[in-house]
Symmetry: C2
Subunit: 324 residues, 2 copies
């Protein structure tokens, strides 16, 4: 795209903490502009619009869906609201990128994706991690056999949230628990490399007094005796590390959600590091991917396909089923 | 002990690779001396004796048991031979420290321990890790509540052994597999802090073509919703990291088998590191513990009790039972 070409026109739905960061990064791209924002909280919408210089401000969702002139909506609301909002956007003819998980079950994801496909509109889960240069480099290296056949992947996203049982995170009716909010990262990370659903799911969880999964451990087995050992928690903190272990070495990625660096350890003792300064707050890379897909007329990202989004949610469905 | 006091007189049984390192460290202590060595391979015994200046050399085990003038025997043979050798040493009136695992089941360990107690002889599993200053410091810190209530422990000891299916490591009849050789470290590490047997054992394993556990994942749950996520492998390598996660922070120990350093990460963002240069090859610390216990007339180390040795082997029995 050059300067004469129309920029991608974005709308922001639910301008909270993450949307602030997303908007910050969006302004780092010459090929995008934010032209619309909606929040039921009028003041919040206006404050956000003022801060980011946004001409269209809505405090009614239906007005936004049908009157906003944006091309693509970024949805940053809590995940229990995603399905309704994604479907409304698509029905209004807008492309969508939606925070993860895009739904609280694979059935919800499938419904959204089917609609996007039938409407020929772009739809993508906002799995920002996938588009970091570090992750791209690691996926390339593994694909090219740099560490041989991979047989173990480990990843943890465990943090200690305030013990506020009134908070959404602890509320079973609002999709609380560590699996949906945190577990999706390690599970998706394993899927970057194994590209399939696990055949065996072996879990352990610690339940909060409110009845949600405070901590979850997920031992997943994939075809070909490949294992993933993953965990998530809102009760205890671990480093956010991920690791891919193969016949000929292993790769360590610290802070794998938004990774600045990957360290390759080869069997012969050599160590190689790939570092990449993060542009903006890390959302820049997925924004570029959306621009790229839209400019190519794609309705799904080849890097984060509809099928892979459904696959991860199907794995999470099965994990929840093991918990009864 | 001062120079006028009699030194601890050691015998070495099975002078292989590990015994070489052990002998190296033993000579760093003023309070010990090696006076005896036995190997069925006469040349090997003589070479070892010459290298370490050892007066008594045996190539027959019975001769060693009854004619060596050592006080304490260090057993470094493969673990399927331990029970017979430990019992013979004890019956010959010698104290014993035996490489881990001391037996291939908790029943074997119990038999040795019962005999040691009835003979009033010192007996200890050579769990060298326990005695490192770094581990002592971490156990103290955790016991004193420095990171609050601990609810998750992680530890991995996964290495890639040569794919030589003739090797003992791959032989089911010789106690092969990753659990006994490698898994004992992470399982023991968890027990340093949880001090009990797990109530739930949830495992996954990858079996080698020879029928042993090539990789094992052990998700253990202890009373009070405490979890341990552990793994061992002879098929793939991970960093040998351990981690203790509590309410108020977490501690990372790299190379936790023989750790030079522990890093404490507190909830308020502060980080503290405890470093300790390793004396010798790391066996020095357990040697000092044996000297200390013998000088006090103890028959078990209060830091690595008979009960804790049995507990870990009982956990490994149960893990093997989950595999059928």
């Amino acid at each position: 795209m050059n300067n004469l070409t129309k920029k991608v026109r974005w709308g922001i739905l639910a301008p909270g903490r993450i949307a602030q960061k997303f908007a910050h990064d969006l302004k780092l791209s010459d090929e995008s502009e934010i032209i619309s924002v909606v929040s039921r909280d009028k003041q919040r919408a206006e404050d956000f619009a003022e801060k980011h210089n946004i001409p269209e401000v809505f405090s009614n969702y239906d007005d936004f869906y049908y009157r906003s002139t944006c091309d693509v909506v970024y949805i940053a609301s809590p995940h229990v609201f995603h399905k309704e909002q994604v479907i409304a956007c698509l029905n209004a003819g807008k492309s969508v990128i939606c925070e993860k998980p895009v739904g609280i079950s694979s059935a919800e994801a499938k419904e959204m994706i089917d609609l996007a496909v039938s409407k020929k509109l772009f739809f993508m889960e906002a799995m920002w991690t996938r588009f970091f240069p570090v992750i791209e480099r690691v996926i390339d290296a593994v694909t090219n056999g740099k560490i041989g056949q991979v047989s173990m992947i480990k990843a943890d996203f465990c943090f200690r949230a305030p013990l506020d049982f009134e908070d959404r995170l602890y509320n079973p009716k609002l999709g609380g628990g560590s699996l949906l909010d945190a577990g999706i990262y390690p599970i998706t990370f394993a899927q970057f490399f194994y590209h399939s659903e696990p055949t065996i799911i072996n879990t352990e969880r610690v339940t909060t007094p409110t009845g949600v999964d405070g901590t979850g451990v997920y031992v997943l087995r994939y075809p070909g005796d490949k294992l993933a050992i993953l965990s998530s928690s809102i009760l205890t903190k671990t480093p956010y590390n991920a690791m891919i272990c193969g016949e000929e070495g292993y790769i360590v990625i610290e802070d794998f959600l938004c990774p600045p660096k990957a360290t390759f350890h080869y069997s012969d003792g050599t160590v190689e590091t790939f570092e990449n300064e993060t542009i903006g707050k890390g959302y820049f890379y997925e924004i570029k991917e959306v621009e790229r897909c839209l400019s190519l007329g794609l309705i799904e990202s080849p890097k984060r396909t509809h099928a892979s989004t459904i696959e991860v949610l199907a794995t999470m469905d099965k994990i929840q089923n093991t918990w009864g």
